[in-house]
Structures are given as structure tokens and as C-alpha cells.
């Protein structure tokens, strides 16, 4: 599968994941470009992987982490909760604009690493093992992040009722 086909098949998921992780559409688009540059460089490795979805999401995760490290080094400010909420609202498509707003509000308020695991589990359909591999954390850490995130989301959704 060449990078154009990867873009066609996983581009939407990758961009959505990056928006959720970075909390900014502009940053997500910049990072997506870096991801495709890296995928183009590693053409042989790309052909050898068995789980293509997990591999491309891992590449996106690594590139996003590199981007965040650079941000930290440059002492640039991370996106605020309001910006993250806007970005998530912009990336999600739901049953109604109110529902989208509610989901974006709740997702923006939980910690980024918990949000990342929830996105990978619910939106990308990965297993905890795959999530652990993508985020470079043990399986149990991924599972506990998910559980804690879901609990927080439950509280936030019930609160905003």
C-alpha cells in the first residue's frame, strides 16, 4: 500500500486522532504532513507491517509527541481547554450540533492521555494491546487510562445534563 492509499484509507482517522491529541486543527494538519513524510521514507518497513491501522496511528502518535516536545522546548503554550473544545467540536460529527457541543466540552475537560486512549478505543476501534503499542505504554496502563477517562466523561456528561 503506497502513501496515497494510506491517506485515502486512514487519513480521516489520523487527522481526527491528531486533532484530539493536539487540540488544534492547524497543528494536526502540520503533524499529518510530517507523518506522511516519515511514512514515505520508511517504505520497506511500511510494507512489512501486519497491522497497518495500528502502524499508521503509531507513526502519528510518535510525530505528535515529537511536536509536543518541540513545543515544550520552545516554551510555547499548549492549547487551552476552550481551544481544544473548539478543535474537537470541529472534528466530530454527531447526531445534532448540541450533542457535538456536549461531547466536545466533555472530551476537552479530561486529561489528554485519557482522551487519546478513549479516541483510539472508541473511534479507531483498537484493542488495548494495540493502544499500548501505539502510545508506548503497558496494556494495563492503557486500560486504566481508558477506565478513568470513561468515569470522568460519565461524570461530566451527567453534570451537564
Amino acid at each position: 500500500m503506497n502513501i496515497q492509499e494510506i491517506y485515502d484509507r486512514y487519513g480521516e482517522k489520523m487527522l481526527g486522532y491528531l486533532i484530539m491529541k493536539l487540540g488544534s486543527r492547524t497543528d494536526a494538519e502540520d503533524v499529518l504532513q510530517e507523518v506522511f513524510l516519515r511514512l514515505a521514507r520508511h517504505s520497506l518497513r511500511r510494507r512489512l507491517v501486519r497491522n497497518q491501522a495500528a502502524y499508521v496511528l503509531k507513526a502519528a502518535c510518535n510525530e505528535a509527541n515529537r511536536f509536543l516536545e518541540c513545543r515544550l522546548r520552545d516554551r510555547a503554550e499548549r492549547a487551552g481547554v476552550q481551544d481544544v473544545r473548539e478543535a474537537i467540536r470541529d472534528a466530530l460529527s454527531g447526531p445534532s450540533p448540541e450533542a457535538e457541543d456536549l461531547a466536545a466540552k466533555a472530551l476537552a475537560q479530561i486529561p489528554a492521555e485519557q482522551r487519546e486512549v478513549i479516541v483510539l478505543k472508541i473511534f479507531e476501534g483498537l484493542t488495548f494491546k494495540e493502544i499500548g503499542s501505539v502510545c508506548r505504554v503497558p496494556l494495563y496502563t492503557a486500560a486504566s487510562r481508558y477506565r478513568n477517562g470513561i468515569e470522568k466523561l460519565r461524570a461530566l456528561l451527567e453534570e451537564s445534563r
Binding site: Q4, Y7, A40, S93, I122, F123, I150, L157, R161
Partner: protein
């Protein structure tokens, strides 16, 4: 929304919006451009290197072919037996083979003696020149 909301079920109703149509045209030309800039050698340089390699290999092959044909020609002219190239130390064996096959071995023997004499004379001449230089220098 009901009181006991299940976040998993709730979030499953959502999907990511499609990628904006212009993003593809933005990403791929830039990736291509940056790949070309970061390439170890440009395509033209690769072609030049390949051309030089082909030239080098052909030169070696031509040289080996020419050496073989010359050797065969020389062997034909001197009426020498067709012998293969020997490793170091095989010269004496080769010489004895040639020696045995030649009818004019006496002539060759004389010739070798003469060569030896000339070589000895050259040695003496070099020694003389060396001593002369030493003497002149002091």
C-alpha cells in the same frame, strides 16, 4: 439525555468529519518536495554513478580479454605450450616446462648467461656511481 449515561455508547454515535478536500493537495506536493530535497543523491547523480560503474566494469573486462588474446597470440608466435597463469612460485615450473619443450634450449642457456653478465655489470656500475657520489660528497 438520561441520568445514567453510558459514555461509550454515547461517543459511538459520533464519527470524525471527512478530511477537507484541499489537504491532500497541500500534503503530497510538500512531502514530494521535501523528499527530493533530503535525498542522499539526486536522480541525475545516481545515473552518473551508475554510468561510471558500468564504464569501470567494462574497462576491466576489456583489459582482461585483451590480455588473454595477447597471451594466446604470443604463445602462438613463440610456439609455446598453452599453460595457465600460475600462482607465485610457479614460475620455475613454468620455465622447466618451456625448457623441456624448446629445441633451442642451448641458445636460451647462452642468452641467460649473457643476461646475468649484463646484470652483474649493471650492479658494478651502480656500485661505482654510488661510491663516486659518496666520495664527491665528502
Amino acid at each position: 439525555m438520561t441520568k445514567n449515561v453510558d459514555p461509550e455508547e454515547y461517543l459511538k454515535k459520533f464519527t470524525f468529519r471527512p478530511v477537507p478536500p484541499g489537504l491532500r493537495d497541500k500534503i503530497f506536493p510538500l512531502v514530494k518536495k521535501r523528499r527530493a530535497r533530503a535525498a542522499f543523491w539526486t536522480p541525475l547523480q545516481w545515473k552518473a554513478v551508475a554510468g561510471f560503474l558500468i564504464l569501470g566494469v567494462s574497462a576491466v573486462l576489456i583489459d582482461v580479454g585483451a590480455a588473454r588474446s595477447q597471451k594466446a597470440r604470443l604463445a602462438g608466435l613463440l610456439n609455446l605450450p598453452a599453460v595457465s597463469v600460475r600462482e607465485n612460485g610457479g614460475q620455475e615450473e613454468l620455465l622447466s616446462e618451456i625448457w623441456a619443450s624448446r629445441s633451442d634450449s642451448a641458445w636460451i642457456e647462452e642468452r641467460l648467461k649473457l643476461e646475468k653478465k649484463v646484470a652483474g655489470r649493471e650492479d658494478r656500475r651502480e656500485l661505482f656511481l654510488y661510491l663516486k657520489e659518496e666520495f664527491d660528497g665528502s
